[in-house]
C-alpha cells in the first residue's frame, strides 16, 4: 500500500516557506533606507557664493507658473508670454524702472508735436533681425500696422488696439525715421513704446509678419531683434532660448555691452507652487518665479536669494460700483476703505516682497501720491460713524440694514494670484465687524471674464489690477469715456460729478511735462480715492523670484518683467536639472 505514503514523503522534502516574511523584510529595509537618506540630505546644498565679474556661458533653468500659448510675443497676455517676448524682441524705448523715465533703446531719440498726436523716432541703424534683415522704419510701420489692426487673412488679432487707441498710421520719411500718428492726444504712447507687459509691441521681422497665426506656432520662424532667439517651444512644458550672436543693442541704461552672458535660458512651466519650490531646493532649476509667500522665508533660510519688484501700474484694488445699491452710497464706499485692518493683511498674507497699497497707483508710477495717513487707514470707529450717519443700523445678525435691505456687498475677483483670496478673506472678516457683509466670488479668469460683462448691474466690487507704468493707466481704467471701471453715469451715480472725473482723468493724456502730469495725477487720485471714494486699493502685487546664490543679474524692468541679457551664473558649468 505504501506507495501513497512514499509518494507523499518524496514530495514533502525540499519545499520552501512562502516568501512573505523575506519580502516584507526587504520592503522594510528599503523604506528605512529611504527615510534615512531623506533625513541626511537636508542641508548639504549651498555652494560658495562667488560674485564679481560676469561669466559667459551656461544654461539658466528657470521655472514659472504660466506657459507660453504661442511664440508670437505680440499675441500673449500672460506673464510667461511677456517675459519670453522681452528676451526675443526689443522695443523702441526703455523705461527706467527706478525713475519711470523713458530712455533710448532701438530709437536713439524722439520728438513729438505739442498736441501729442505725432511722435517721431530716430532709429538705430546697426540693428538687425536674427534672420539678417535690417531693423528700419519700414519694419516699425509694418509692425505697428499689424499690431493695431491685426490681419484677418493671416488670423492675426488686433493685439495692440487697446495699447495704441486712435492709431492712424506710421509714416517713414526716411529709412530710419518713423512717425507714429494718432487721432487724439496720447501722452501715454511714449510709455507704450517701452511697454513690456501683455501683448507688447516687440518688433518682428517682415518675414515673420507675413506668416499666419498657425505658421507662427513654429518658434524658429518667429524672428525678433532680441538678445535671445528661439530654440524650441513645447506648449505647456517649456520654451528654450539661445543667445543671439552679435547682439549689441541692449538698452543703454542697462550698461550691458554685447551679447547676453548666458548660452541658453530654459523656461520651465511648473503649475504647482510646491513643485517649483521643491525643484529649486533640489537643484532641478536655478531660479523660479511665482514663489509662494509661505516659501519665501524657508528659501531664504536655505541660502536662496529672493528678489522681487512690485508690479508697476495700479495696486490690486476694489473697484466700487457707484451705480449699484449699496455701493452707490458714498458712506458705504468710505466705510469699505476705512473698515479693514491693513496690518493684519500684511502680517498674515503678505511678505516683505509685497506691500499694502497706499494709493491706487503703485509707488513706482510717476505721479503717485500717498494716502496711507488719510483715506487709506484702518479706522473702524470712523467707518461705523459714517454708516450710522447714513442711516445704516445694525441688524440682528450684526449686518447693518437700511430701509429693510441688508448691507450686502458682492465682490467679483480673480484667483490667479495666490495672495488674493486670503487677502480678501481678511478684509471680509474685518468688514463683518463693522456690519458689512462682503460676499466673495473669487474665480479663475474665464469665470471672471464671463461675469465682468455683467458687472455694471450685478457686482458691487470688481477686484483686479492693471499693469502699466504710467499715470494714464487711471484714465484707461476709470475714465467714463474709456474703461469706466467704476461705472460712473451722470444722474445714476448719486453725488458724483461725472464730467469732473472724465475731465480730470483725460488730462493725463494731454501732457508729458512731469510736473504738470504729477499735478493732474494727484487731482485724479484725490477724486478717485477721497472725494468720490470710487476705489479701495488693497495691496501692491509683486513678482517674486527665488534663485540660487550663483545666479546674478536678473533684471526687473519698469513693468516688473524680467530680462536675461545681463544674467549670468558664477558657476557657469553648473547645470541645473542634471
Amino acid at each position: 500500500m505504501s506507495d501513497l505514503r512514499e509518494s507523499i514523503e518524496r514530495a514533502e522534502s525540499g519545499r520552501r516557506k512562502w516568501p512573505w516574511i523575506s519580502g516584507a523584510a526587504v520592503l522594510g529595509v528599503l523604506l528605512a533606507a529611504g527615510i534615512g537618506l531623506a533625513v541626511t540630505r537636508g542641508g548639504e546644498d549651498s555652494a560658495s557664493a562667488a560674485s564679481g565679474e560676469p561669466v559667459r556661458g551656461g544654461t539658466l533653468q528657470f521655472a514659472l507658473i504660466d506657459y507660453q500659448r504661442s511664440p508670437d510675443p505680440q499675441w500673449g497676455t500672460n506673464y510667461a508670454e511677456s517675459l519670453i517676448g522681452n528676451n526675443i524682441t526689443d522695443k523702441l524705448t526703455w523705461q527706467d524702472p527706478d525713475t519711470g523715465e523713458i530712455t533710448p533703446w532701438l530709437a536713439e531719440s524722439w520728438s513729438y508735436n505739442t498736441d501729442l498726436t505725432a511722435f517721431t523716432f530716430k532709429l538705430r541703424q546697426d540693428v538687425t533681425f536674427s534672420d539678417g534683415t535690417p531693423f528700419d522704419a519700414a519694419a516699425v510701420k509694418a509692425n505697428f500696422d499689424q499690431y493695431v489692426h491685426g490681419d484677418q487673412t493671416l488670423g492675426i488679432n488686433p493685439n495692440g488696439a487697446t495699447l495704441l487707441p486712435g492709431y492712424i498710421e506710421t509714416q517713414t520719411p526716411d529709412a530710419y525715421t518713423a512717425v507714429v500718428r494718432f487721432e487724439k492726444p496720447l501722452a501715454s504712447f511714449l510709455q507704450a513704446s517701452a511697454f513690456t507687459a501683455n501683448a507688447q509691441p516687440g518688433f518682428l521681422s517682415l518675414n515673420t509678419l507675413k506668416l499666419s497665426a498657425e505658421q507662427r506656432t513654429d518658434p524658429t520662424k518667429v524672428i525678433g531683434t532680441g538678445p535671445f532667439v528661439y530654440e524650441s517651444w513645447e506648449e505647456q512644458v517649456k520654451t528654450v532660448l539661445v543667445r543671439r550672436q552679435g547682439y549689441h543693442w541692449s538698452p543703454p541704461s542697462l550698461r550691458h555691452s554685447g551679447e547676453a552672458y548666458l548660452d541658453r535660458v530654459v523656461f520651465n512651466t511648473i503649475p504647482e507652487a510646491s513643485v517649483r519650490t521643491g525643484s529649486l531646493t533640489s537643484g532641478a532649476v536655478d531660479a523660479t518665479l511665482d514663489v509662494g509667500t509661505t516659501d519665501e522665508q524657508p528659501l531664504k533660510d536655505q541660502g536662496f536669494a529672493i528678489v522681487s519688484r512690485s508690479v508697476s501700474g495700479t495696486s490690486i484694488f476694489f473697484n466700487l460700483n457707484s451705480q449699484l445699491f449699496p455701493t452707490n452710497d458714498l458712506a458705504v464706499r468710505k466705510a469699505i476703505q476705512l473698515g479693514w485692518d491693513r496690518s493684519a493683511v500684511a502680517k498674515t498674507v503678505l511678505t516683505d516682497s509685497y506691500s499694502i497699497a497706499t494709493s491706487v497707483l503703485n509707488t513706482s508710477v510717476q505721479g503717485y501720491a500717498d494716502y496711507s495717513g488719510s483715506v487709506l487707514r484702518y479706522d473702524p470707529d470712523q467707518a461705523k460713524a459714517l454708516l450710522d450717519q447714513a442711516g445704516w443700523v445694525p441688524g440682528t445678525d450684526g449686518i447693518r440694514v437700511k430701509d429693510g435691505k441688508r448691507l450686502e456687498v458682492k465682490l467679483l475677483g480673480i484667483s490667479n494670484l495666490v495672495v488674493n483670496k486670503p487677502a480678501y478673506e481678511s478684509v471680509q472678516q474685518d468688514l463683518q465687524k463693522i456690519g458689512i457683509d462682503l460676499q466673495l466670488t473669487v474665480v479663475p479668469i474665464p469665470d471672471y471674464a464671463a461675469q465682468v460683462a455683467k458687472a455694471k448691474t450685478d457686482w458691487n466690487i470688481t477686484a483686479a489690477n492693471r499693469s502699466r507704468n504710467d499715470p494714464a493707466v487711471l484714465n484707461l481704467s476709470y475714465s467714463p469715456a474709456l474703461g469706466n471701471g467704476s461705472f460712473l453715469e451722470q444722474g445714476v451715480s448719486t453725488g458724483v460729478d461725472v464730467a469732473e472725473v472724465t475731465d480730470a482723468l483725460g488730462k493725463l493724456e494731454t501732457t508729458l511735462d512731469p510736473v504738470q502730469r504729477a499735478a493732474y495725477a494727484k487731482t485724479a487720485q484725490d477724486l478717485l480715492l477721497d472725494k468720490y471714494a470710487l476705489v479701495s486699493p488693497i495691496y501692491n502685487p509683486s513678482q517674486v523670484i527665488a534663485h540660487a546664490d550663483y545666479v546674478h543679474g536678473i533684471v526687473f524692468d519698469a513693468q516688473s518683467r524680467n530680462h536675461f541679457v545681463d544674467a549670468w551664473k558664477s558657476d557657469a558649468g553648473k547645470s541645473a536639472g542634471r
Binding site: A38, G155, E214, G278, S282, V452
Partner: protein, 320 residues
C-alpha cells in the same frame, strides 16, 4: 458568419453614433457658455476698455460671428475631415496641437495602465492565494484605500519624498524614463483601485466555481488552479470596465500632468477648458469619445475571442 458580420456592424455603428453625439453635445454645451471665448484673449483688467469692433474682428477670426447652426454644420463638416479649426489661445490647428501632445499622454497612460493592471492582479492573486484571513482582509481593503486619496495630494507627497528629499527622480518635465516613474505611480494607484476591486470580487466568485473543485480533485495545487483555471475566467470581467478605466486614466492624467508639469492631453484639456478654448475643447472631447468608443468596440470584438461560449452564440447567429 452573418452573425459575426451583423454583430460587428452593429457595434461599429454604435461607436460612430457616440462620436457624432459627443461632438454635438460638446458644441451645444460650449455655445451656451456664459463667457465669450474671445474675451479670454485679453487682459481681464482691460476687458472694459476693449472697443467692440476689436472684439468683433477677433470673433470673425475664429468664425464665432456666424449663426450658430451654420457654425455647427461648418464645424461638423470640417470635423469629418479631421479639421477642428484653430485653437483660440495659440492659433495652432487643433488636430496638430492634440497630436503633438498625445504621444506623451499615451506613454504615461499606457504605462500606468500596465502598472495598474499588474498591481490589481497582484492584489487579487495574493488575496486569493493566501490562506491567512488577516492578510486577505488587508489586501482586500487596499483598493478602496488606493482610490480614497486625492490624486493631487498623493502626487505632491510622492514628489516631496522621492524627488525633493531623496532626489531619485526628476520633479517635472517629460524627458527620459526617470521622469516617468513618479507620475506613473501617482496615476497607476487610483486607476488600479477599481480594477483590483472588480478582480478581487471575480476571483472570489470564480474560486468558488465548480471547475475549481474539479481542479482540486485532479490533484491541483492552489497556485496551479489559480493560474490555470481561475485567472482567465476571473480576468474576463475586467474587460467590461475598460471604459471606466479609460475615464479614470483621462481624469487622472489631467491632474497628474498638472502636478508633474508634464505635457499631455490631460494638461491641455485642463487649460483648454479653463480658457474656454472652444475649438480645442471640442477637438479633445471628440478624440476622447472616439477613443472610448474604439476601446469599447475592441472589447466588444475581442470578448468573443476570449470567451468561446460567446463566440459560439455569435456564429450561431443569435445576437447576445
Amino acid at each position: 458568419m452573418t452573425g459575426v458580420a451583423r454583430y460587428t456592424a452593429l457595434k461599429v455603428g454604435r461607436a460612430l453614433f457616440v462620436v457624432w453625439a459627443a461632438f454635438t453635445v460638446t458644441f451645444v454645451l460650449l455655445f451656451v457658455l456664459p463667457a465669450d471665448p474671445v474675451d479670454l484673449l485679453f487682459d481681464p483688467a482691460e476687458l472694459n476698455a476693449i472697443p467692440p469692433e476689436v472684439k468683433e474682428q477677433v470673433a470673425a477670426n475664429y468664425g464665432f460671428n456666424e449663426p450658430v447652426i451654420l457654425q455647427y454644420l461648418n464645424r461638423l463638416g470640417h470635423a469629418l475631415t479631421g479639421d477642428f479649426g484653430s485653437s483660440v489661445q495659440s492659433g495652432k490647428p487643433v488636430t496638430g496641437a492634440i497630436l503633438e501632445v498625445l504621444p506623451s499622454t499615451l506613454v504615461l497612460a499606457s504605462a500606468a495602465l500596465v502598472l495598474a493592471t499588474l498591481i490589481a492582479f497582484g492584489i487579487a492573486l495574493a488575496a486569493t492565494a493566501t490562506r491567512r484571513t488577516w492578510l486577505r482582509d488587508l489586501l482586500e481593503s487596499l483598493p478602496s484605500g488606493a482610490v480614497s486619496v486625492p490624486v493631487f495630494l498623493s502626487g505632491i507627497l510622492v514628489l516631496q519624498v522621492f524627488s525633493f528629499q531623496l532626489g531619485w527622480f526628476p520633479a517635472f518635465g517629460d524627458q527620459g524614463w526617470r521622469s516617468l516613474v513618479l507620475p506613473l505611480i501617482t496615476l497607476a494607484i487610483p486607476v488600479a483601485g477599481p480594477i483590483a476591486q472588480l478582480l478581487v470580487r471575480s476571483f472570489t466568485t470564480e474560486f468558488a466555481a465548480g471547475y475549481v473543485t474539479t481542479g482540486w480533485a485532479k490533484g491541483g495545487t492552489r497556485g496551479g488552479i489559480i493560474v490555470r483555471d481561475v485567472l482567465r475566467n476571473a480576468s474576463l470581467p475586467a474587460l467590461t470596465i475598460a471604459g471606466v478605466t479609460f475615464g479614470n486614466l483621462i481624469a487622472g492624467s489631467v491632474i497628474t500632468e498638472t502636478v508633474f508639469a508634464r505635457r499631455g492631453l490631460g494638461r491641455m484639456t485642463q487649460t483648454a477648458i479653463n480658457t474656454l478654448d472652444v475649438p480645442l475643447v471640442a477637438g479633445i472631447v471628440v478624440l476622447v469619445a472616439a477613443t472610448f468608443a474604439v476601446i469599447n468596440l475592441i472589447v466588444d470584438l475581442i470578448y468573443p475571442l476570449l470567451d468561446p461560449r460567446l463566440r459560439a452564440s455569435l456564429t450561431a447567429g443569435v445576437a447576445p
